[in-house]
């Protein structure tokens, strides 16, 4: 590649990156400015003073902590359950090594690719008619319960996870397992002690991916939770938006607070996230 073309590419990428980061930077800029100042001088103006007040207000007015905790109660159990269940099934499938098991599973779980709204009507009915003990769900039903949200998130992510993990497990050489069997290892040991540790990279990638996906899910809580107080933070955003409606600075601060956990994960675990995405799509 000639140096000149290389410079053109470089400049193009710098421009694209600048354009891409602009919306986020704009939010940051708004969030740090006092409302009185932007009202007086307009939004596009040099900052005369910066403040953390918007963040404080957004945090308290929005009961943000409360919704973060809700999100944790949904995300962590859902991720753990999904990984446990899908790795167990993937283990069995990979171990059987029948030619048809994986394709069959694929058909079975292709349903997870469908838009969520396709299942909404029956799920709405099921959720409203399945009773739960009140220690599990204070609504007494799957509907309007955190437990119900965990269930649907697990159900929706399982297929993809099983598929990816089974594929990954198939790359584990059969000899390792055979050696274990010779050593007298039971099924459980083979799964828990031998296969899972070997799958650590895939599991880490899936865990990151699932955490982000479930944390970011907006729809299930919207459809299956009726008590606003039980919303995870992502769905509560819609209410926060109404609440901050007339104050862009506050809205921007609220958005950044909500984005913070994702951004932390992004900085720390970006590689795992990308690995997860590409595992699922380009696995050869």
């Amino acid at each position: 590649m000639t140096p000149r073309r290389s410079i053109i590419s470089e400049v193009f990428l710098i421009l694209v990156a600048a354009l891409w980061i602009l919306p986020v930077l704009w939010s940051v800029y708004l969030a740090f400015r006092p409302l009185e100042e932007t009202n007086k001088y307009g939004y596009v103006s040099w900052p005369r003073s910066l403040t953390l007040q918007n963040f404080r207000d957004a945090w308290t007015q929005g009961s943000v902590l409360h919704y973060f905790v809700n999100s944790l109660w949904i995300t962590i159990p859902a991720v753990v359950l999904t990984l446990l269940l899908s790795s167990a099934l993937a283990f069995v499938i990979a171990r059987l090594r029948y030619r048809w098991t994986l394709p069959l599973l694929l058909v079975f779980t292709a349903g997870n690719l469908l838009p969520q709204q396709v299942f909404l009507a029956p799920l709405f009915k099921i959720y409203n008619s399945v009773g739960l003990p009140t220690w599990l769900a204070d609504s007494g039903k799957l509907y309007d319960s955190t437990f119900g949200l965990v269930v649907i998130n697990v159900a929706f992510q399982l297929g993809f996870c099983v598929f990816v993990l089974a594929n990954f497990m198939k790359t584990v050489p059969a000899s390792i397992q055979e050696a274990a069997i010779v050593d007298g290892a039971g099924i459980w040991t083979q799964y828990w002690r031998i296969t899972l540790p070997l799958c650590r990279p895939a599991l880490a990638a899936m865990a990151t991916l699932l955490t982000i996906w479930i944390y970011n899910d907006f729809f299930w809580a919207l459809a299956l939770i009726s008590t606003g107080d039980k919303y995870p933070i992502t769905t509560a955003l819609n209410d926060l938006k109404g609440q901050y409606a007339v104050d862009n600075n506050l809205l921007a601060a609220g958005a950044l607070i909500v984005a913070a956990p994702t951004l932390v994960v992004y900085l720390v675990l970006q590689r795992h996230f990308i690995a997860g995405l590409t595992l699922g799509s380009t696995k050869e």
């Binding site: 470089e10 694209v16 891409w20 919306p23 079975f108 969520q116 994702t262």
Partner: protein, 278 residues
């Protein structure tokens, strides 16, 4: 532990998908007794409901923009980044950032750009004190405004998928092409692109599915109201709204189901072929 995932999948995914079809021929609501109504719901959506055809059109436009703009953009970014220029990792991180954010959050981040009440765009256009272009409310433009948000995210997604595909392209292959006097475009067209065929299929499926799944952005913008009707948003309005029109919502669900099965079947066929080859 092995049976659980299978049962869960059956009860919460395929069971409901099939039940949707059954419900679509009824007048089911929240509670009242259910009656068969034949194909009435389908007549209503095709001939009476003023939101249906706009919704279909909007879904199609969404798909078109993803295929014609977001995907080529993502591909271009990937190819450029793959050249290993200085700072590639930073550019990549920046372009990928929106993929990590929830769509609901994206809708809010862009709202402070689009709003008529001191938004960045209207301020730049000279309407900082109100008035100006109603990007998110005016139904002749709000779809495009939201599609900019969607593309902002989708291009990063496509970029990452291509980047991982490009890594698989043998460097030696490219070098030999260059030696043969092929220019950058020719190398891409005849050497790189064919190797990316499996990635292309995946990206096509992802693109179609994502455009059918589109929901969060329009919901957070105006609940899938005027200018932003989508099939997914209509279903949500009908079923979870005060009307609880479950039967009618199911008919809309069946439409979405049938359309979605096209890319899904395509994906399955491709996967089976891969299995056969391996």
């Amino acid at each position: 532990m092995v049976a659980i995932p299978l049962v869960v999948d059956l009860v919460f995914i395929w069971g409901p998908a099939l039940a949707t079809i059954v419900l679509s021929f009824t007048d089911a609501t929240g509670a009242a007794p259910i009656h068969w109504v034949g194909t009435k719901n389908y007549h209503t959506l095709a001939e009476v409901d003023p939101s249906f055809w706009p919704a279909v059109r909007h879904n199609a436009i969404w798909l078109g923009v993803f295929i014609l703009i977001a995907t080529p953009l993502g591909m271009l970014f990937a190819v450029l980044l793959d050249r290993g220029l200085q700072g590639s990792r930073i550019y990549q991180s920046v372009i990928f950032l929106p993929v990590m954010l929830s769509l609901a959050l994206i809708g809010i981040i862009w709202q402070v750009i689009y709003t008529t009440n001191g938004g960045l765009l209207n301020t730049l256009l000279g309407h900082g004190d109100g008035g100006g272009v109603d990007f998110l409310g005016d139904p002749s433009i709000n779809l495009w405004a939201v599609l900019v948000e969607a593309t902002w995210r989708q291009a990063g997604y496509v970029m990452i998928l291509y980047l991982s595909g490009l890594k698989a392209v043998d460097l030696a292959l490219k070098e030999s092409a260059a030696l043969d006097g092929a220019n950058g475009w020719q190398t891409f067209r005849y050497v790189v692109f064919p190797v990316l065929r499996p990635v292309n299929v995946v990206i096509l499926v992802v693109t179609v599915i994502e455009s059918l799944r589109a929901f969060d952005l329009v919901y957070i913008t105006n609940q899938g109201g005027i200018g932003l009707q989508l099939i997914s948003a209509m279903i949500t309005q009908q079923i979870t709204g005060p009307g609880n029109r479950i039967g009618y919502g199911s008919a809309l669900g069946v439409v979405l189901l049938l359309i979605s099965l096209v890319p899904i079947v395509a994906f399955l066929v491709q996967q089976f072929r891969k299995e056969d080859e391996s």
